[in-house]
């Protein structure tokens, strides 16, 4: 049952994700393990999810669900990723005053944060292997775009959608227009 599998995968992703992009390593490993997507497609959904409104986790769930099993797949994946909100968070809402003072989550985060950082570093390496390579070897234009993006993000403080937009335009020029001109 692909719907159950999607639900279960995104349930795991939901319960082990603590904010934003630290979700990507989890999504990447689940997608690759089930063969629902290849590494290129994982990069694509991250880009699309970051360009559109809505939280990354939900957007990835919808996109991955749609890609692998259509609309019902998207619903199943969304339900999975929302389960922490519907269970843990609802409990926290009911016992709000008691929960607010509990330090357990803060203590857990002391170890979870460096772990998330490690996974983020790791996924950068694995994604680099596909995103900066072609069949022929290393793709120099891709590396140039990547370096430029990093500078824009870190030094010039560009927003993520702006950087993605620029990279799409540069991609069109270098991979679309340039080969046509040289041919």
């Amino acid at each position: 049952m692909i719907y159950l599998q999607l639900f279960w995968s995104f349930l795991k992703i939901g319960f082990t994700s603590f904010g934003g992009l630290s979700m990507i390593p989890l999504i990447s490993s689940e997608m690759l393990a089930h063969g629902w997507m290849n590494a290129e497609e994982v990069s694509d959904i991250v880009a699309i999810a970051e360009m559109t409104p809505g939280p990354l986790g939900l957007n990835c769930a919808t996109f991955a669900g749609m890609r692998s099993a259509g609309l019902l797949g998207a619903v199943a994946a969304n339900l999975g990723v929302l389960m922490p909100s519907l269970t843990l968070c609802l409990l926290a809402a009911v016992f709000y005053n008691r929960f607010r003072k509990a330090k357990v989550m803060q203590n857990i985060m002391v170890g979870v944060r460096p772990t998330c950082l490690a996974m983020v570093a790791g996924v950068c390496l694995t994604l680099s292997a596909t995103n900066y390579a072609t069949v022929a070897g290393v793709s120099l234009p891709s590396i140039a775009i990547g370096v430029l993006d990093l500078v824009l993000l870190l030094v010039r403080k560009w927003s993520v959608p702006a950087v993605i937009g620029l990279s799409a335009a540069l991609g069109l020029l270098t991979f679309g227009v340039a080969p046509m001109l040289s041919a």
Binding site: D44, P55, N59, M66, A74, V81, R113, T115, M119
Partner: protein, 190 residues
């Protein structure tokens, strides 16, 4: 009748909020602040900050958690469900459409040229997010060891991320306990 109206209002507002969640949940919190703290005055500034803090400390998408906490506060479990639905439906509809177009057009050479460029931007984006996490990741020296060990487990042994997070959680509990006790011990000596 009043109850249905409340639920309807909540749904409507969160549906609107759901349309404008660019770049994480903070823009939504900012809009909630404007609507519910400043205009409708049903929530105090501190309560919202508090709610956001709780939402962030729990696993899952932060904005889903905020919607559940706020909805429960306004109208119980039904309020939670209504707010959550409102906030997820717009992005979900949009992403469904995009997934459809992606499937249809990804083979197109112009689209694939643009996507080639876009793919080059993903590692810098993730990397810069990682750099942003650096500050809060190492409150105690042993956290560096947690980072190193989990990175090795991830890259070399390809360990499932779920186990990695569990290992991190256990380390966090142990480390916090240790440093708390040490601090208490020091306090006692003084």
């Amino acid at each position: 009748m009043g109850r249905f109206k409340t639920l309807g209002n909540l749904f409507g507002t969160f549906l609107k909020l759901g349309c404008f969640t660019f770049g994480g949940g903070w823009s939504i919190v900012a809009q909630m602040q404007r609507i519910y703290v400043e205009r409708k005055r049903v929530l105090s500034e501190e309560e919202l900050v508090d709610m956001t803090g709780v939402a962030r400390s729990l696993p899952g998408t932060m904005i889903g958690n905020v919607a559940v906490l706020f909805g429960y506060r306004m109208a119980g479990v039904a309020g939670s469900v209504v707010c959550l639905l409102g906030i997820i439906l717009p992005p979900m509809a949009l992403l469904c459409a995009l997934a459809f177009f992606y499937t249809a057009f990804r083979e197109n050479e112009w689209v694939s040229a643009a996507m080639n460029g876009v793919r080059a931007s993903i590692v810098p984006i993730v990397l810069s997010a990682g750099i942003g996490m650096l500050k809060s990741s190492f409150p105690f020296p042993p956290c560096v060891a947690v980072f190193a060990v989990t990175l090795a487990l991830y890259l070399v042994f390809d360990l499932n991320c779920v186990y990695l997070i569990l290992i991190g959680a256990v380390c966090g509990l142990l480390l916090s306990e240790y440093y708390e006790r040490r601090q208490k011990g020091r306090g006692a000596k003084k």
